[in-house]
Symmetry: C2
């Protein structure tokens, strides 16, 4: 299958979550317009996305939910799931570990975490080992970790990012305020709540 | 001043954070191209943004940092700061409260939180009161709270959102997976890490 557009992947991931709930119904069929309405999307767009997945529904019943879920799984889930890590195991890091771990359909696995706090280093948090930050390059290489979730506040964030990219990280989710510089081909999602609050506050008042 | 475009507001908020650090230097001047480079932006764009703020630099020294910060504060900070609340005071809620509270320049104030856990209700967490969820409509109206940060997982999230909008909430930051339906004129920022992880994993492998 050709590489799907970014926005399509995002929507397909949302379809999966809605369909996973639907699956428990006694008649697990869904119409594209119902799926669209549940996610507040355009029905035409949803039908186009589902076509890209190679599934088709019928006029009487719509799409079979289990079949739809299966093709989404085949598209989104990489046979060998992606390894990810959390850098910074304070309250935020731990709550994210719990949240991600509780998701049955997520194709990403947190297999290690890192911190600088001696009380956390060499313990396991929710069953996942927490290592000394200084060991990050070695462990990331060894375990082929591809995604780093950054929850630590430090002035040296750029230095840490450069080291992590060298070790093999290809995607960052950053919960702290930037600025961060990443080279082409590396993915970055900013989850900086303070910038979001400022923006929202401005928009509400203007 | 006319309403600034969304992306401009986002950048101006980032300028402020970089400039706040610069302020402590002995020679607090900055060139637009240095500011651009620190944030990995186009220098032309930065100059355009600063012009919109009504500030000008000079060729020899660039922009005076304190003056620039002052005009950003005048633009972004509403005289009466925006009131916000966190719905759900688990680990994630508490870590966000700590993070937002530690920001000296954020024009948004968390003045209350809500939970359904009897152990948390009617206590104060980091100095901020935590109320019973059922009192949310009353307190949001009374205190003119405009932004709600959602960290709770519930099947009834839509019902809660409808109630919060009725009470006066105009902006949501949602840390849990949707789908959420919001009417026009209400702001929503999705911070759903599971969808982001799936997307990133797909992009890295394709």
């Amino acid at each position: 299958m050709a590489k799907l557009p970014k926005k399509t992947v995002e929507r397909i991931s949302q379809y999966r979550r809605v369909l996973a709930k639907y699956q428990t119904l006694s008649e697990p069929f869904i119409f594209s317009h119902d799926l669209a309405s549940l996610l507040h999307l355009n029905p035409v767009q949803v039908r186009r996305d589902l076509m890209l997945l190679g599934t088709s529904g019928n006029y009487r019943n719509g799409y079979k939910v289990t079949k739809l879920l299966q093709s989404i799984d085949e598209t989104l889930t990489i046979p060998k799931s992606t390894q990810a890590t959390i850098i910074g195991m304070g309250r935020l890091g731990e709550s994210l570990l719990k949240h991600i771990g509780s998701s049955p359909v997520c194709p990403v696995m947190i297999n290690s975490t890192f911190d600088i706090n001696p009380k956390k280093i060499n313990t396991t948090i929710r069953g996942i080992p927490c290592y000394d930050m200084t060991r990050a390059p070695e462990i990331i290489k060894e375990q082929k970790i591809k995604i780093a979730i950054l929850t630590l506040y430090t002035e040296d964030i750029q230095a840490i990012i450069d080291i992590l990219i060298d070790a093999g990280i290809e995607g960052f989710i950053n919960y702290m305020a930037g600025p961060i510089k990443i080279p082409k081909g590396i993915y970055l999602k900013e989850y900086d709540i303070r910038t979001t609050l400022e923006e929202m506050s401005y928009n509400i008042h203007n």
